[in-house]
């Protein structure tokens, strides 16, 4: 690796990781603000103007809180679990293309930290690791509510992963590549969400599964305050508790980024941004468009949470296994047929 490439990679890591973490922090504020608007309240408005310093204040509070581990807890796994819950979401940042590749003097610098050809598989692998943190956290707490929450959550994530992966394979069939940059570049003429019916159905399935994968309402049975106190994080306090939430919100940001990449053409906007001549302006405009789309989906995540009631456990399983999985398989079959016969 040359020095220039190394510097480019380090800059990309700093910028893209910074964006993800900042968005995660800001979404905690907006979670509370939007929930307040939906319920006709003001929301946090004491710390800083309009409450903008609330995430910072929360962070400071978490750091200075006492760490408590319940008696009989498995110390090692209890400490490790929050980190394992947050790490997969952070690692997914590596493959998401945030904007168009930068073309300088003929060299093409892809705008994903690691522009690997198996980006989609990497995302799948990280998605399958996300179960560990919640599962181990629930088990190591030595608490029946935590254990139930952890088990529910892992069963839910395993179930919805299937439908999600099959809908991603549909996207691969349409794009003909596993490289995330190529996937969005293939959509510059027409976004996958507009490829009726296969792209639209795959989008719907992926979106529903994304809610389940991130343990968000209406699929947040892992926490489910009315039944399980707090679910897998009942016994957690201080920064360990915060890490679970940092992981959840980062996973939301990443899911929004991936939905954007898979179905909404990533940083492209009806050929407007794609046509810009100046390489730097094109990259920055692309980043802006990408982040705008991501923010829309973050808003959607929050909006749904404060609008729709929680599913019951058996309804969740029914939806995942009997509806989404067969539908996604049929959709994949249709997409394969259409691509093979040259219709798409």
């Amino acid at each position: 690796m040359t020095t220039a490439a190394l510097i480019a990679t380090l800059v990309k890591i700093a910028v893209f990781f910074g964006i993800t973490i900042s968005l995660a922090a800001v979404s905690t504020l907006f979670e509370r603000k939007i929930s307040a608007w939906i319920q006709q309240r003001y929301g946090p408005n004491r710390v800083g103007p309009w409450g903008v310093l609330q995430p910072l204040a929360d962070g400071l509070k978490f750091i200075f809180k006492e760490e408590v581990a319940p008696a009989g807890a498995n110390r090692l796994l209890f400490r490790l679990a929050p980190a394992m819950a947050a790490a997969p979401a952070f690692m997914t940042v590596a493959v998401v293309p945030f904007t168009f590749p930068l073309i300088l003097d003929g060299t093409r610098i892809p705008m994903a930290i690691a522009d690997i050809d198996i980006g989609v598989l990497f995302f799948m692998a990280m998605g399958s690791l996300a179960v560990y943190g919640i599962m181990l956290g629930g088990w190591a707490s030595n608490n029946k509510y935590s254990l139930l929450g952890g088990l529910r959550s892992s069963a839910q994530m395993i179930s919805y992963e299937l439908a999600m992966m099959v809908s991603v394979i549909t996207v691969l069939t349409l794009a003909g590549s596993m490289n995330l940059t190529r996937i969005f570049e293939a959509q510059i003429p027409l976004w996958n969400i507009a490829v009726f019916p296969v792209g639209t159905i795959a989008f719907g399935i992926f979106l529903i599964a994304a809610f389940a994968e991130t343990n968000r309402h209406p699929f947040d049975l892992a926490e489910c305050e009315t039944e399980l106190v707090g679910g897998f994080h009942t016994e957690y306090s201080s920064m360990k508790f915060a890490l679970f939430f940092l992981g959840e919100y980062s996973a939301m940001v990443m899911m929004s980024g991936l939905i954007t990449t898979f179905f909404l053409g990533g940083p492209s906007l009806f050929g407007l941004v794609n046509g810009i001549e100046d390489p730097w302006i094109k990259v920055l405009a692309g980043l802006g468009v990408f982040l705008a789309k991501v923010c829309f989906f973050l808003f959607l995540f929050i909006w749904v949470r404060w609008t729709i009631p929680r599913f019951r456990w058996d309804q969740l399983m029914h939806l995942g296994w009997k509806l989404l999985l067969p539908l996604s398989l049929a959709n994949l079959l249709l997409a394969g047929t259409l691509v093979a016969t040259g219709v798409l």
Binding site: D117, W139, L151
Partner: protein, 173 residues
């Protein structure tokens, strides 16, 4: 020391340490956890050998699938008091020695470097590999028959699992 050797040593330590924890831990959950570390280390070796497709598949199938199911089962199972009986250790020992012999034979019969991959004989990586693997599965000359047999086997396992679950629990339990 080059970065490649360093990476090799770190991965080797993680893999072996994970294996040792798997064998010797008193907690079954720790064992499953050690197994996870060990399998992740092996995935790292695949990356080092330039085969990222294999590495990611390893993580998806073993770390994200098999070990999660182990943990699922282990968490709901009380510890086994007989885990260190002489008979079990003897049986495991025979298999371990046999595996070690095969492994050492492979190591000493090996040409090239002991770490990483020779630049001269490195495999292609990334997209090219995925295409090759995909084509090999669908090629009658290559792996079409084993692929189909594996598919049927998985289907049989699936049907069997559903049958057992239905019989034990009954409808709507």
């Amino acid at each position: 020391m080059s970065a490649e050797i360093l990476a090799f040593l770190v991965l080797a330590t993680a893999t072996v340490a994970g294996g040792v924890v798997t064998l010797w831990s008193r907690y079954v959950v720790h064992s499953a956890f050690g197994l996870m570390l060990s399998l992740l280390g092996v995935a790292g070796f695949y990356v080092l050998l330039g085969s990222d497709f294999l590495a990611v598949t390893q993580v998806v199938v073993y770390v994200g699938g098999v070990v999660v199911l182990y943990l699922f089962g282990v968490m709901l199972t009380p510890p086994d008091r007989e885990e260190r009986s002489i008979r079990r250790i003897a049986v495991a020992g025979i298999f371990a020695v046999a595996a070690l012999v095969v492994l050492l034979k492979a190591v000493f019969g090996m040409e090239g470097r002991w770490y990483g991959v020779d630049p001269d004989r490195g495999p292609a990586s990334g997209g090219a590999v995925i295409r090759e693997v995909g084509n090999a599965f669908m090629d009658k000359e290559a792996y079409l028959l084993p692929f189909e047999i594996a598919s049927v086997l998985l289907l049989v396992a699936l049907v069997g699992a559903v049958f057992i679950a239905r019989r034990e629990g009954g409808r709507g339990s």
